[in-house]
């Protein structure tokens, strides 16, 4: 009985589908005919513009740069769809390596290039197709400051991974070439966040991170590659080790660094280590920590809760990082053209103005200027006291009139870079030792 019934139901379903299919075929034929006619009347450009409407670019990056508002604005300005997804460092790197097809535009930190160029995950860009390349700050294009001084090349200075000799190259070029590995998007110089109400004196050196005076109230990032750099800044400042290159330590240097960290941990120096932006904000805001390595917008986030917190300019300089975007290797034809268009749009200023209001710098500051008020540009880039209220991109008040940005003007901060976020040659050994430190 049961079986019989099921059969009938199945048959009924089958007839329904077949009529459905017939109807669908009819409609499709009509539409195709209509499309063909319009195409004939209006000629090729319309076909192009219709095609480009179907293009979709998926950008995946960190929460600080893959922002939906930017994708929405690009979609509006460009006439094709740009979508953003966020992923944390490790998720992003793993996805780039194991599922590159799911990403069109990689939005990555510069040191990822070491992983990706060797694997051929990305597609180098032709310099001549990047309209504002000559306007990009020379940190990235030449490895120098505007006055010709060399930027510290400890760690992965973006310039070192900026060029390749051509498509398919697995090594980086020594100097500028016509092929660019990534377009710099957001970057910044990081230092220690301080709670002035609880640290009642001036903090001027990275060594304060290890100062027993703040025992049980300090913190560093728990991401191994970045945490060890913060630790190295502090250890070198205290005078324990003079590193050859903090960003590319030898095994012996890693051993000594981890030993010092273990000893500090054993003495109860750290309260916790943070892994995410929110964790770092919560640690500071709740007073669990009072001196900790932090990202600039995290400091602002603490302050926006009405809790005093500032970013101390330290005499040893800053630990800098930079992100870039690049088309993935699988893009071709119209999608690749769209990617170039999008990248040129990205550099033209709207995005720069948007992220500047969160405290990040962009590759072409003069383009950013067009999308900021004079007061905003004065505060964020020139180190001038705010004349009015300073608001974030969503309109929330971040600073009251009279406030000055910690660390001052753009070049006062970016001009004092001590090292860059990194991927060491001895990375595998470093991660192993870092795990030892955590287990100690």
């Amino acid at each position: 009985m049961k079986k019989g019934k099921a059969k009938t139901a199945g048959q009924r379903a089958r007839t329904q589908t077949s009529t459905g299919r017939r109807r669908f075929l009819k409609t499709a034929a009509l539409t195709a005919g209509a499309a063909a006619t319009t195409g004939l009347i209006d000629g090729f450009p319309l076909v192009w513009s219709q095609n480009i409407k179907d293009v979709k670019l998926m950008q995946v990056g960190g929460s600080y740069s893959a922002i939906k508002d930017i994708a929405d604005q690009a979609t509006k300005d460009l006439g094709f769809k740009v979508e953003m997804q966020t992923a944390d460092h490790s998720a992003l790197l793993n996805r780039l390596v194991t599922q590159p097809q799911t990403i069109d535009i990689a939005d990555i930190e510069y040191f990822f290039q070491l992983h990706l160029i060797k694997r051929g995950t990305l597609q180098p860009m032709e310099e001549k197709k990047i309209k504002l390349w000559d306007k990009v700050v020379p940190i990235f294009t030449k490895g120098t400051y505007p006055d010709g001084r060399k930027v510290s090349d400890q760690g992965v200075l973006p310039y070192k991974v900026q060029y390749v000799s051509g498509p398919g190259a697995k090594e980086f070029a020594k100097g500028p070439t016509k092929w660019i590995t990534g377009i710099p998007t957001v970057y910044n110089a990081d230092t220690l966040g301080i709670r002035p109400d609880l640290v009642k004196r001036k903090v001027e050196s990275w060594s304060e991170l290890l100062n027993p005076e703040w025992k049980g109230k300090t913190s560093i990032v728990s991401v191994p590659g970045i945490g060890i750099m913060d630790a190295a800044m502090a250890i070198e400042a205290r005078g324990d080790i003079k590193y050859g290159d903090k960003g590319n330590m030898t095994k012996a240097e890693i051993d000594k660094t981890i030993d010092i960290l273990k000893a500090a941990k054993k003495a109860g120096q750290f309260r916790a280590m943070w892994a995410t932006f929110d964790e770092s904000v919560n640690l500071m805001a709740s007073g669990e920590t009072i001196v900790q390595s932090m990202w600039s917008p995290a400091v602002t986030a603490v302050r926006s809760r009405g809790i005093p917190c500032y970013y101390a300019p330290l005499k040893e300089g800053y630990r800098a990082w930079g992100s870039c975007i690049a088309p993935m290797a699988h893009l071709k034809g119209i999608q690749l053209d769209a990617a170039y268009e999008y990248i040129n749009w990205y550099m033209s200023g709207w995005q720069a103005g948007f992220i500047a209001k969160q405290g990040y710098y962009s590759s072409v500051p003069e383009a950013a200027k067009k999308f900021m008020t004079e007061d905003e540009y004065g505060y964020w880039y020139e180190g001038k006291p705010a004349k009015g209220e300073i608001k974030d991109p969503y309109g929330n008040v971040m600073e009251k009139p009279g406030a000055v940005r910690d660390g001052g003007a753009f070049w006062d901060r970016m001009g004092k870079v001590a090292c860059w976020n990194t991927l060491m040659d001895e990375n595998q050994y470093m991660v192993k030792k870092w795990n030892e430190f955590l287990a100690s």
Partner: protein
């Protein structure tokens, strides 16, 4: 596809009992193969790959295993993880047994029994992560608990060990995993014939003796199942230990997650295989003490 008349007329097809069994386990077997067997084979294959610091190269090399097994950090990670597993197991067992005993033997009405049992699951109505993270503001230096202690004049200084410590990790584990102990133990106890206990009481046995000589042996299956849940959950966890210790402590899984973050797949795969072997041995040991199959069948 058969036509309806043919099925209606046909005699039932004879299927051998063996085939029936295979057909019955077929779907589960398929799911296990697809989502467990094949990925596991991939992990095992990867564990023999060579890793040059950036990329994984297909090979058949024991170097990843030698690295893991000769590294001092492996032993300390295992000791630390085992420490968490044993402490959490002991506490959850104590609480789980007590709660299950209360539900099974002290609550007389079936409705109340079920109501209280459901009450135990209330925490599970919110996500694991939220339940864990809510401990942070509670246990923090300026948290609710410390403020209460100071307010009540019990301590002068906030207690620092409450958060970002082993204590915090264990509290979170116990909170998250106790139910996995309660359910199987309660289930086992509910099958115990009440007459047996009455008889023991009539025979003059003390409460403790009843528990020790009747309830514990007869709930062994539940205890074993609960123990397997708790031990395997703790052994494979990295999130709780990371958040609650403030990354100040580590577990095996956390070390693996650090390796995976840097796409160091072959060494991570080797650690994973070793962890799998260790956990399997632990489960086998538990099952050796209690023959779950026999207990359930009996």
């Amino acid at each position: 596809m058969q036509s309806p008349d043919r099925t209606r007329g046909a005699r039932p097809v004879k299927v051998s009992p063996t085939l029936t069994s295979y057909l019955q386990i077929g779907p589960l077997l398929l799911v296990l193969l697809l989502f467990f067997g094949i990925p596991l084979l991939v992990v095992i294959a990867y564990s023999f790959f060579q890793f040059d610091g950036l990329d994984s190269v297909p090979a058949f090399d024991f170097v990843n295993y030698i690295d893991v097994l000769t590294s001092g950090v492996t032993l300390s990670l295992y000791l630390k993880t085992l420490y968490y597993a044993v402490v959490v197991w002991a506490i959850t067992l104590l609480i789980g047994f007590t709660v299950a005993y209360f539900l099974a033997f002290h609550v007389q009405s079936l409705i109340w029994q079920m109501a209280l049992f459901l009450l135990c699951t209330v925490p599970f109505w919110t996500s694991n992560i939220i339940r864990m993270i809510s401990w942070i503001p509670f246990l923090g230096r300026n948290g609710i608990f410390n403020n209460a202690l100071i307010g009540a004049g019990i301590t002068q200084q906030p207690l620092e060990f409450l958060l970002f410590s082993d204590f915090a990790v264990i509290i979170a584990y116990v909170h998250l995993f106790t139910l996995f102990m309660i359910v199987p133990i309660f289930n086992a106890m509910a099958r115990i014939d009440k007459a047996l206990i009455e008889a023991a009481r009539d025979g003059g046995a003390s409460g403790w003796r009843i528990i020790w000589d009747i309830v514990v042996p007869l709930s062994k299956t539940g205890i074993a199942l609960g123990s397997i849940f708790v031990v395997t959950l703790v052994m494979g966890d990295f999130f709780v230990v990371k958040v609650m210790s403030g990354s100040q402590s580590a577990s095996i899984a956390m070390a693996m997650s650090n390796q995976i973050a840097m796409v160091q797949y072959p060494p991570a795969a080797a650690s994973a295989v070793i962890l799998l072997i260790v956990v399997s041995l632990m489960v086998a040991a538990i099952l050796r003490v209690v023959d779950v199959r026999k207990e359930i069948a009996g």
